[in-house]
């Protein structure tokens, strides 16, 4: 297909993907203030995605956040070292939490690309919503033809 044809097809289509709804997956506080999200499957997504798939995504997210906030040898070491240097190492070093956040961002992007975008859904990284909610944007399901 030539570029002109492609241009015309784009103009012809002008199918604009509008947002049908947004679902917000809330935090799950049963284990305290650690960052965990509810795995309950929202009814609005029933027609779009498999329940298993969705719960798997949220469960993996929860595990990643648990890893970020884990209290263990390495986090204590980081904390003690920081204390000894009057916390100035935070200025030059990336914390463990930040490293895991990058992993989470990559994971969400992967999930969006492979699973959610083809179904007309979009996951928003919770860090952009203050770690309060997982925002799932549902786009209108219009079949696009030429």
């Amino acid at each position: 297909m030539s570029l002109e044809e492609w241009t015309h097809s784009l103009q012809d289509m002008r199918q604009q993907a509008a947002i049908a709804a947004k679902v917000f997956i809330q935090r799950d506080y049963t284990n305290g203030t650690v960052c965990q999200f509810q795995t309950k499957f929202p009814s609005e997504l029933e027609t779009r995605i498999d329940k298993q798939q969705f719960e798997e995504t949220v469960r993996t997210l929860n595990n990643l956040y648990a890893e970020a906030e884990k209290l263990g040898g390495s986090s204590y070491l980081e904390g003690c070292l920081a204390c000894l240097t009057a916390y100035t190492i935070f200025l030059c070093m990336e914390t463990h939490y930040e490293k895991v956040l990058k992993k989470i961002a990559k994971f969400i992007q992967e999930q969006n690309d492979k699973i959610y975008a083809p179904r007309g859904l979009l996951l928003t990284d919770p860090i952009e919503r203050g770690l309060r909610v997982v925002e799932v944007t549902i786009f209108e399901d219009r079949s696009l033809g030429r």
Binding site: R14, Y29, G32, S75, Y76, T88, Y97, I127, R132
Partner: protein, 390 residues
Amino acid sequence: MNNCEYQQIEPLSLPNPTPPPRPAAVEEEEEKARRKWEVFPGKNRFYCDGRFIVAQQSGVLPLTLGLILVTTVLFFVFDCPFLVKHLTVFIPAIGGVLFVFAVISLLQTSFTDPGILPRATPDEAAYIEKQIDNSGSSTYQPPPRTKEVVINQQVVKLKYCFTCKMFRPPRTSHCSLCDNCVERFDHHCPWVGNCVGKRNYRFFYTFIVSLSFLTAFIFGCVATHLALRAQGGRGLIFALQESPASAVELVICFLSVWSILGLSGFHTYLVASNLTTNEDIKGSWSGKSEAEDTGNPYSYNNILTNCCSVLCGPMPPSLIDRRGFVPVEQSSQTVSMEMVLPMPAAKEIKVVGGPTPSQLPPSRALQVPSSPLPATPLSLTGRPQFSCLF
């Protein structure tokens, strides 16, 4: 199953309503793009382009800094020479280390985001409102909104924050001075000029502990200095006359050491039981009735674990993204999305979703490698187009 293929789009070859092509569009984006701290709704002030955050009123932070500086400088100038000569050179060394610790942790407490929760987006607020309204009538002012959750087999009430338009997470409180919800809110400290919350509690604790050591140390050294000078029957008055600065230091240290030591002791107790000042004052977990089994649901029931988790736990990130760019919403441009995205011809773009002007996807989803605003969702006035081939 839809088989969507992502197609190349040549921005320069597409007919665009607004000349010229991408450089101007990009420039307009850059000019209009503001950082999030500039539009922050709370009552905070920002310095160094959003790198530092303080409360609106700096409180008595200058006084705190001034007192510490003046006392320590006087100590080094007037007392240390005598003490080094008569005792040991370690005295100014120890004093120096304590002073550095105290000042650095004070500055970090004052200029660090205490754990401010960003306010709910309009969509989020509407979603929560809908859920609340579903459970009751909404014809007139509804009763105060609370939600109950069970944390570690204990019922905790979450309150709805009318300013931030969300249910506050547990241990979060809204500071009226800063007009923000702060996670693990301890208290708003005027001496430090900032709230003390989840992210800066360890700095605050280091500050008060190092300050109490510093004050006690200076007090002890000055007293020793005066005692040594007054030796040989010459008397205290003589000693004071020889070193009047010591009198100033003595007074300042004597008055402050009790309160600071007391505060350190109190916060050590709070750290060991994983409580916040807010919870302790309100008596949230003190067990109001004998029948109810109330206890702190956040405590690990082990002093060492509590201390380690509060002071040495992982450092949570700042949630307010001060230096990120504000998405330019509803701009007057009529440029379609393909024009806004600056991309080299050979690169593939993934047109994932179609946001309306006010609802923007994260920039990562749009995968624009050469985007001028790396941290922002790109603003799009025109609706983008799916390109799917079946």
